[in-house]
Subunit: 343 residues, 2 copies
DNA sequence: ATGAAAGCGCTAACAG
DNA sequence: CTGTTAGCGCTTTCAT
């Protein structure tokens, strides 16, 4: 199918054909235009195309100790595979596209043991890596050196990594303010343990602060620690009214959780938003599909992907010096799950 | 952190330390146990650990023209990134885990142009590749040679690929039989165009055949061509009763579609299953969360992942000869979206 | 603007 | 069981 179906065309083949040295061809192929005459460039290009040249990536990586590969690391639990959350999926897919357009490749790698990260970086001569779904504590312990590391949704202060995340504090505030504006005073905060992840801690902080400004003390906010899953949300929903009879509104730190909550509430005979108002976080696709639609704090996923890609690329291609973490904007998306509290 | 923090420990360093040749170390590291004495193995192992040896993957790939890399190729539309469907996500995540445990690595690669596949295979010295979300027509055109290729959900007869898919024909039958058993006679089949993908063609075939056996001719089955998306399903749901006043049951070829349909029907004032029964396909997580729960044809995703991984690995490690495609089982999952037709 | 030499770290193939 | 000899295809460095 290809023009001249040589099994393997290499630089030296093109060099011979063009009557130039291997180095000249290499320079042409790598766009080092300053080092080669314009006429030569065109001729070499044409010959390479005609012969169906495909660069050998391992050879390039070995010689240059630079791979043009960026790894996406995702921790794997004992249970099973990776790519659990829709959020992670969006990040990985988006970053792959950005990097591909800039000539980089994506290695997808589940991490079982600490140390796998550093090992992979050395073994592959990675140009950079993006850490997804790691806890702050895990990121704190990362010791890989000399390679740009972007950590998604991290509040770790590990100086080797730069964090890219949503403005979670502001998101927490928005949720509280919206609920308070609707007239609610008895609130419940539902999410995973605060200490584990900075993300949740920030959302709690924003939520609590807005409440405090409205005269509601932190101790007066009910808190339920639940895992971020539909099932855990549903479970909580089933017993919510029994456990918190006076609560009139819930802020769940993730939409999956909120959607599960809604299902559990329905099952238990409670109506949303008539009996209980609900605000989620993320703005997943499914949040528009529930009945009622879920009012939620939307993350700016395209921006997150773009920033993560931009930073890793900049750091790889010459960037240096310490760099501040990036926080992306949030916005309240009103659907139908919030109303005034029942009298 | 590592024992002796050499920047780069290579085979020759270990060889020198152990007083053996580089080849011996190489053999030890690659588990070619037959070629090395037991005592030597232990000693070399110990030294390698102590020095913190990490194999250089590009070097290995170059020398062996074998990369231990399996690519996962996903087509990218003009629109944006890859990893769209939950289904694809599960496949990629699952396969990554299986391969990692067998010492292979996963390159995730969006495909923009035909030919990118063959180019990547050559350029990376890939050991194999898995094609996800390609249409049969696209797979027909793939010309890469000499490398095992597994195509997920493909009915292409391209002899260079081996298909791993669900028993879609049987799934179509199950859906029809369930609806017929509930007493429905006026059915609607909703899905993307049949010709484009073998998957849909098979489901239609099974559906139609079961209907025929019950005395319902193919012409008497209503058909709506819609894209596999929530929005398209919703759109259809909104106008369904107007367009097909006598239809009492719908088979949608995907759960996302079915869930959208359900939303549209609700909006239009139609009740599921009182006014209209609904069967989906896939058994996504969300299908358990709708109200009512969606009755659907479940795919055996773990089996799909396991088979795809097993086949690619077998083919890489010595397998040869033509191999038959694999079809995984399906099962009807009854939730609440099917009832007897209204009189 | 172009080329020659040297070697990246590893493995295949054969020799002992 | 172990060692030797040759590269894999490319880029670096330095010369011209």
């Amino acid at each position: 199918m290809c023009p001249e179906d040589q099994v393997t065309v290499k630089l030296s083949d093109i060099a011979a054909e063009a009557g130039v040295s291997v180095m000249t061809v290499s320079n042409v192929m790598n766009g080092k235009r300053a080092r080669v005459g314009a006429a030569t460039i065109d001729r070499v290009r044409e010959i390479a195309d005609r012969m169906g040249y495909v660069p050998n990536i391992p050879a390039r990586s070995l010689a240059a100790s630079r791979s043009h590969i960026v790894a996406m690391f995702v921790p794997v639990g004992e249970n099973n595979s990776l790519l659990v959350s829709p959020h992670t999926v969006a990040v990985i897919g988006g970053v792959e596209q950005q990097l591909r357009h800039r000539g980089y490749h994506v290695l997808l790698r589940g991490i079982e043991h600490e140390g796998d990260v550093a090992e992979a970086i050395r073994g592959w001569s990675l140009d950079g890596a993006i850490l997804v779904e790691f806890t702050d504590a895990e990121i704190d312990r990362i010791a890989a050196d000399g390679v740009p590391l972007v950590a998604i949704d991290s509040y770790s202060t590990n100086p080797r990594t730069v964090g890219v995340r949503t403005d979670d504090y502001r998101g927490g505030r928005l949720a509280a303010e919206h609920l308070l504006a609707a007239g609610h005073r008895r609130l419940l905060f539902a999410g995973p343990p605060h200490e584990a992840t900075g993300v949740v801690a920030q959302r709690w902080d924003g939520f609590r602060t807005a409440c405090a400004e409205a005269g509601i003390a932190g101790e007066d906010i009910a808190v339920e620690e639940v895992l971020t899953s539909f099932e855990d949300g549903r479970e909580l929903g089933l017993h919510l009214r029994a456990r918190h009879p006076d609560v009139t509104a819930v802020f769940a730190t993730a939409d999956v959780l909120a959607v599960g909550l809604m299902a559990g509430l329905h099952e238990s005979g409670a109506a949303v938003p008539a009996d209980l108002s609900l605000v989620g976080f993320d703005d997943l696709d499914i949040s528009a599909y529930t009945t009622p639609g879920l009012t939620t704090i939307a993350q700016d996923m395209p921006a997150k992907v773009a920033e993560a890609s931009r930073i890793i690329l900049e750091e790889i291609e010459g960037g240096e010096g310490p760099r501040a973490p990036v926080s992306l904007g949030v916005a309240l998306v009103e659907r139908g799950s919030v109303a005034a509290p029942r009298e």
